[in-house]
């Protein structure tokens, strides 16, 4: 009895000590800044950046249509930009999934040595700075760039294709950046896939499509969902790719936030936008987790 208690208290103490650093880090570097953002989003913008300590909920009114005062007008463009960001982030998830899902199966069937090498290759881009890699895409996509010269050299096109500074370029850049984040969770899931279940399904007379839809897809779904979330969230807030490859003509909410802080000197508005993005992401996650736990409890029953 007594010995058991000491072990459990010791375990508790160890757990407490082990969790202490991460709790502190999250508390200091996440919750406090979040609190500052929430506070700022309800304050009046200072004349030269910063804030005036006056209650000012109209930053949200400018985006959502309510509440408004004499100075702030409702501008539907902010919601339009947000929807455009959702679209770009959604397409980024879709295309990176289309690339990564088959690739994960391919890599998972390789010999261990090749597998490790391929995994190393996938993480290799992280060794170079993000800005440099985005800049490289600019050089590839521009009218006199590599891709256009190649296509012209082969004789497939006469005039260079206008690929740079477009939605297309933004999505190419985003998919490129986020592919590893999609690949790794899917791969972790696909690797664990129990092929005896696949064979069982085939033995029981399921066709390839049926096996895929009813056995493989459900078993790898957690990886797909995990990867999609990890890609979707940072893609939604990205501002570097639209600025570089979209020529700042393609707008995402991230660009708007950056501009509010650095050009417009309107920190509260930037904070309000950032919180709305965060809010919608949190909502998405809550829905997802609620669905997942419902499914689990159903499974248990």
């Amino acid at each position: 009895m007594i010995a058991g208690d000491t072990i459990s208290t010791r375990k508790k103490r160890a757990l407490f000590l082990l969790l202490m650093p991460i709790t502190l880090v999250l508390g200091i570097f996440f919750l406090i800044p979040l609190g500052i953002m929430i506070t700022y989003s309800f304050l009046e913008p200072g004349l030269y950046g910063g804030v005036e300590w006056n209650w000012y909920p109209y930053n949200y009114g400018r985006i959502l249509g309510w509440p408004l005062n004499d100075y702030e007008e409702f501008e539907p463009i902010y919601l339009a930009i947000f929807l455009n960001s959702l679209k770009i982030a959604g397409l980024t998830v879709l295309f990176s999934l289309l690339i990564c899902y088959p690739a994960a199966f391919w890599v998972s069937r390789m010999s261990p040595r090749r597998k490790n090498f391929v995994l190393f290759l996938i993480t290799l881009p992280f060794f170079a700075n993000l800005l440099i890699r985005i800049y490289a895409w600019l050089l590839l996509l521009r009218p006199t760039g590599f891709i256009n010269s190649l296509l012209q050299g082969v004789g497939l096109i006469d005039q260079p294709l206008d690929m740079l500074f477009s939605n297309f370029a933004v999505i190419v850049g985003m998919v490129y950046i986020f592919t590893p984040f999609m690949f790794l969770p899917i791969y972790a899931n696909v690797e664990k896939l129990d092929y005896s279940l696949v064979r069982a399904s085939q033995d029981l007379g399921a066709g390839p499509v049926q096996t895929f839809l009813r056995v493989i897809l459900p078993l790898t779904a957690p990886g797909i969902i995990g990867g999609s979330i990890i890609v979707f969230i940072p893609a939604l807030g990205n501002f570097i790719v639209p600025a570089f490859l979209g020529g700042s003509k393609v707008q995402m909410t991230g660009n708007l936030i950056e501009r509010s802080f650095l050009q417009s000197r309107d920190w509260p508005f930037g904070a309000a936008l950032a919180l709305l993005i965060m809010g919608s992401v949190v909502l998405l996650l809550v829905i997802q987790f609620a669905r997942a736990s419902r499914r689990e409890s159903r499974g248990a029953a």
Partner: protein, 344 residues
């Protein structure tokens, strides 16, 4: 203004230039625009005075102000644009360095005393000025003279021109083209300018700062750009040209200011004195290819710079250049117009 590099990298790069660390008697910490000072003169100052100089960079006035306001300490000298100089002086962020009592002050062009708050130069030393015009590729446009021609070309060749990703600069062009001043506070005038830029937007390839490589390679034909681009036209005169458009243009000027909480005010004043020397000012200008505020330095410049109509414009052209003033709360008219331009 070769602020571009700083803008691309976006990260304050720390450049340590210490001639002789062992004998360094003091320190001096500079906070300047990216690529906006000739490193050779920093080196020379460092050697002459045995001072260890560090240089951090920023890419917008607002970024610099935000950092100083947030309490970034340790910097001695900053390079705000004139309107930001006024703001910082009003906010009490600067201290009087009295450059007007330093030897060589008489050489400072009186036209460069543009600050409203500091008309006699008690606080800051005028540093450099320049026009914002158009950098163009001569193989694609043999001679460019005006904004009109720029937008006509864009209409015929959509996507082949760029404008700056800066709300005051680009709306400023709209204001010039619709006959208003670039510091207008009149909502109707600003709406007209907004509509003008909006009409052009489908033909504009990108809103972008970093255009020199794209103009050089011919990926775009012309880009709204700072006079610092003249450095590239001088290196490549057959390919590149820079013009201050006939209709008029905006201009900027930066002043060197001593921060109120500067840790090394004496070395900072020494550096201001050093910048006042004509030969140093000339050496710096060769690298910046900006307008020169030191009249004695103009004579020391190479002919290519002295006679360049963009760097040393005629009085008629100078009369058509407008400098930005701080608009205070009315800036919101511009930010909202810009948001609409960007979104649609």
């Amino acid at each position: 203004m070769r602020k571009v590099l700083g803008r691309i990298v976006g990260v304050a790069s720390v450049l340590m230039l210490s001639a002789n660390m062992a004998t360094a008697e003091g320190k001096l910490s500079l906070y300047n625009w990216g690529d906006y000072i000739n490193p050779e003169i920093i080196d020379q100052f460092s050697k002459e005075n045995g001072v260890e100089v560090t240089l951090d960079t920023y890419s917008t006035n607002e970024e610099m102000l935000a950092r100083i306001q947030a309490g970034a300490s340790g910097y001695d000298l900053v390079w705000p644009s004139v309107h930001m100089h006024d703001i910082m002086q009003q906010l009490g962020l600067l201290q009087a360095a009295h450059p007007n009592q330093m030897p060589g002050w008489d050489n400072i062009d009186k036209a460069a005393m543009r600050s409203h708050e500091d008309p006699n130069g008690d606080y800051c030393l005028p540093y450099a000025w320049g026009a914002v015009g158009i950098l163009y590729n001569k193989k694609m446009i043999p001679e460019l003279k005006s904004w009109n021609q720029f937008f006509e070309y864009a209409k015929a060749n959509p996507g082949k021109v760029t404008m700056l990703d800066d709300l005051r600069e680009t709306l400023g062009v709209g204001l010039i083209m619709t006959g208003a001043t670039v510091n207008s506070r009149n909502p109707e005038e600003i709406t007209k300018a907004e509509n003008f830029i909006m009409e052009q937007k489908p033909n504009i390839g990108a809103f972008r700062y970093d255009v020199i490589p794209l103009v050089t390679s011919g990926d775009i034909a012309a880009g709204h750009y700072y006079v610092g681009g003249v450095l590239n036209t001088l290196q490549n005169p057959d390919l590149l040209g820079f013009v201050i458009p006939e209709e008029g243009a905006t201009m900027y000027q930066e002043d060197v200011c001593l921060l109120a909480n500067a840790p090394n005010p004496d070395n900072a004043k020494l550096f201001m004195q050093f910048l006042l020397r004509p030969e140093i000012a000339a050496k710096n200008s060769e690298r910046l290819t900006n307008g020169v505020v030191n009249t004695a330095a103009v004579d020391l410049l190479p002919d290519a710079l002295k006679s360049n109509p963009s760097i040393n414009p005629s009085p008629e052209v100078r009369a058509k250049l407008q400098i930005f003033e701080d608009l205070g709360k009315d800036l919101r008219l511009y930010t909202r117009a810009w948001d609409r331009i960007k979104a649609n």
